[in-house]
């Protein structure tokens, strides 16, 4: 499995950030640390990929500049690291985030409260680290999501559908065909066995639209959401299945609830 030559050919995939997190990525990164020809090949590939990226340049939204520049003066920079530490690591790779980051969602759940709490938290951290910038960014993301959720719920064509699930509890879906979005909330969902999760799906019309995985649903005492799901297509059915931890690419069992979405 871990043949050197085989690992070596992963430089291309790695340069495009196309290696899934897991054993293969770990093995490759360990190999990379010891393989100078891989490092130089990777460097050329990164440069090549960056050129592909530059070619996609587009005029950014006019609001971007202001929102970045407003935060910069309040964002502490990382201290420089010394040369030894710098060269010991070759291209540290950030772990992809888990399905649906928990923090923004939590912040939405109790928006006002968490907002205040997070700001306080941020202030506590500001002297030691750059946490404030991070918290603020997560808050910005949370606020944006909250706005989107409100927009769906208040849309002129919003429809509300409540349905029990086959294993207990109910789900409520607010959907706006014009926005092609829906918001899910749930209550009374039973606690799942260890190693199982609730996974969300948009199930397209067979042979027309595929089944799309929409992440794993975090529950707290049986309650969940609001979760915003975008990209709803005509004829889609929203569904929830119980899948192994981490979720699956396609549903492996029958949904515990299916909600045909009006269009």
């Amino acid at each position: 499995m871990a043949l050197r030559s085989e690992l070596h050919t992963l430089t291309g995939v790695y340069a495009l950030d196309a290696l899934d997190p897991g054993a293969e990525l770990d093995r490759f990164e360990r190999h990379l640390a010891r393989c100078s020809s891989c490092t130089s090949e990777l460097r050329g590939f990164r440069e090549t990929a960056a050129r592909l990226g530059m070619a996609a340049a587009e005029r950014p939204p006019p609001t971007l500049r202001g929102s970045v520049m407003a935060v910069v003066p309040r964002t502490r920079q990382l201290p420089a690291i010394d040369e030894h530490a710098r060269h010991a690591r070759t291209g540290p790779r950030r772990r992809p985030m888990p399905l649906r980051r928990p923090l923004p969602r939590l912040a939405i759940a109790g928006a006002a409260l968490s907002l205040a709490a997070a700001v306080v938290l941020g202030v506590l951290y500001v002297n030691t680290n750059n946490q404030l910038g991070q918290v603020r960014r997560q808050l910005t993301a949370a606020q944006a999501q909250l706005q989107a959720i409100t927009a769906v719920r208040t849309a002129l064509d919003a429809r509300v559908i409540t349905k029990p699930t086959a294993i207990g509890g109910t789900v409520t879906v607010v959907t706006s065909p014009s926005r092609r979005q829906m918001v899910l909330t749930a209550s009374g969902l039973p606690r799942l066995a260890v190693g199982k999760v609730y996974q969300l799906w948009l199930i397209g019309v067979p042979h027309v639209h595929p089944i799309r995985a929409e992440g794993v649903l975090a529950t707290h005492h049986g309650r969940a959401g609001p979760v915003l799901i975008s990209g709803v297509l005509t004829g889609d059915t929203f569904g929830i299945t119980v899948e192994p931890k981490g979720g699956t690419a396609q549903p492996t069992v029958q949904p515990i609830v299916g909600v045909p979405l009006p269009s």
Binding site: A50, P61, M69, Q77, A213
Partner: protein, 200 residues
């Protein structure tokens, strides 16, 4: 803010039109950003916000989310400019690498949206929506030409992975081709792209 910006900070036009000069210029700017120079950061923004947003938009598809991820990336550039090491690659590459990673993190975290799925079979190409600098359009033309120089399977695998944000496992299942084949196609294609673009 505007008044605080020293005059010599202004991005002079010729820099935008000379590729080599501008790369060094960008590295110089990043060195100043690393010392907390906000005016230098604004100059970096002017130069790279378009590429950063464009790439993220291509991968993430949703405009609002793309703006959010772009903001994260640009702030990360500000925050971590102290860690940028010109010995390991160019400044633009460093920024674009961060942008791509963040975009990919976002789409893998949020699961694919319908728009992405619908377009997954298409091979996205760099688009012409921006009226931008001469340098950028020459670059874009060159990238397009080099992409055209790949074999169809190579181009497809590279664009799905890079612009589509799919992992090579996903590319393999989308195209129904063995993993090892995708791995080879991507590497061979990148080698060819690299030589075609004159990356050393």
């Amino acid at each position: 803010m505007e008044g605080m910006r020293p005059r010599e900070m202004r991005v002079s036009e010729p820099d935008f039109h000379r590729p080599e000069g501008s790369e060094q210029y960008l590295e110089g700017l990043l060195a100043r950003v690393a010392r907390g120079d906000q005016a230098a950061f604004e100059a970096v923004y002017d130069r790279l916000a378009g590429p950063v947003y464009g790439l993220i938009h291509k991968v993430v598809r949703d405009a609002a989310q793309s703006e959010e991820v772009s903001q994260e990336v640009l702030l990360e550039v500000w925050r971590t400019a102290t860690r940028f090491d010109p010995a390991k690659g160019s400044a633009a590459t460093w920024v674009m690498t961060i942008a791509h990673r963040r975009a990919v993190d976002r789409v893998r975290a949020a699961a694919a949206t319908a728009a992405r799925e619908q377009r997954s079979a298409q091979v996205p190409m760099p688009h012409d929506e921006v009226a931008d600098t001469v340098e950028a359009s020459i670059d874009r033309e060159r990238v397009r030409r080099c992409l055209d120089g790949l074999t169809e399977p190579q181009r497809e695998s590279i664009t799905l992975a890079y612009y589509g944000g799919y992992s090579y496992r996903q590319v393999s299942s989308l195209l129904n081709v063995a993993l090892s084949t995708i791995k080879t196609r991507i590497r061979d294609g990148l080698l060819r792209m690299r030589d075609c673009l004159g990356v050393n």
